[in-house]
């Protein structure tokens, strides 16, 4: 139960971060990606702000034998660079550049009730499902 409450609270903080930084706004993302246009460095500042917190603190957390509320850490198990990683990242990048939405901002933007956002998120879910079928075929 406590872990459910934590997940909810963390989701709120995450969305507030996306909103305050305006990363929820696709125009900001496109502005950052448009290096040949009038470049908007905001996304870089967001990454710097986030990494300034996670880079020093993650190693301290991971030094513990287990997290505070759960029995163990659930971390990614893959360590080797492989073709799916590179191909997947390239496909994701193409979609990100097309709309200016990545998964976090798109989900948070659902709060606007915009039909365009709903369409994007629905397509994103179908895309995830297709990749899952592709992996388990």
């Amino acid at each position: 139960m406590a872990q459910i409450a934590v997940a909810f609270a963390v989701g709120i903080i995450f969305a507030l971060g996306l909103a305050v930084s305006e990363m929820i706004n696709p125009a900001r993302i496109i502005g950052f990606l448009d290096v040949a246009g009038r470049w908007d460095p905001t996304l870089l500042l967001v990454m710097a702000g986030a990494l300034a917190v996670t880079v020093p603190i993650f190693p301290l957390i991971l030094r513990r034998s287990k997290p505070i509320l759960a029995a163990q850490f659930s971390l990614p198990t893959k360590t080797q660079v492989d073709p799916p990683l590179v191909i997947g990242a390239a496909i994701f990048g193409a979609g990100w550049g097309l709309a200016g939405f990545c998964p976090g901002p798109a989900l948070a933007a659902l709060a606007s009730g915009s039909p365009s956002v709903i369409l994007f998120v629905a397509a994103m879910l179908v895309g995830q499902w297709l990749a899952w079928r592709f992996e388990t075929r």
Partner: protein, 138 residues
Amino acid sequence: MIEPNTLGGLIGGALIGLAAVLLLALNGRIAGISGILGGLITSTGRGDRFWRCAFIFGLLAGAGLYALTSGLPLELQARGPTLLVAGLLVGFGTRLGSGCTSGHGVCGLARRSPRSLLATMVFMVAAALTVFLTHHIF
């Protein structure tokens, strides 16, 4: 175009970092949005689905809260068919590539994961290239 949001960017980024730190320290989970969402499709346990849903409801609640006070900054240039294709690519690519901006970019880099560093560079370059092609060539 819009002016850079310097202060908002740094503060918002720190909030995202704080969220990632809390989720890892308390629940032992990586705050990668595509992974949290994707787990809903593949997950088997009810408890596992619960926390994923709670996180996504939290995202909606946080954005809703902000919308009530300041209004959501949301300027979407892409239209129907483009959004559809973009959504499919983002969903497929993040699943195949094991993560998105938050999982690889914010958490993976903090774990000093070589996979995440490479993925972050690849999706940044691919996205910039896509914007260059769609805004300056075609």
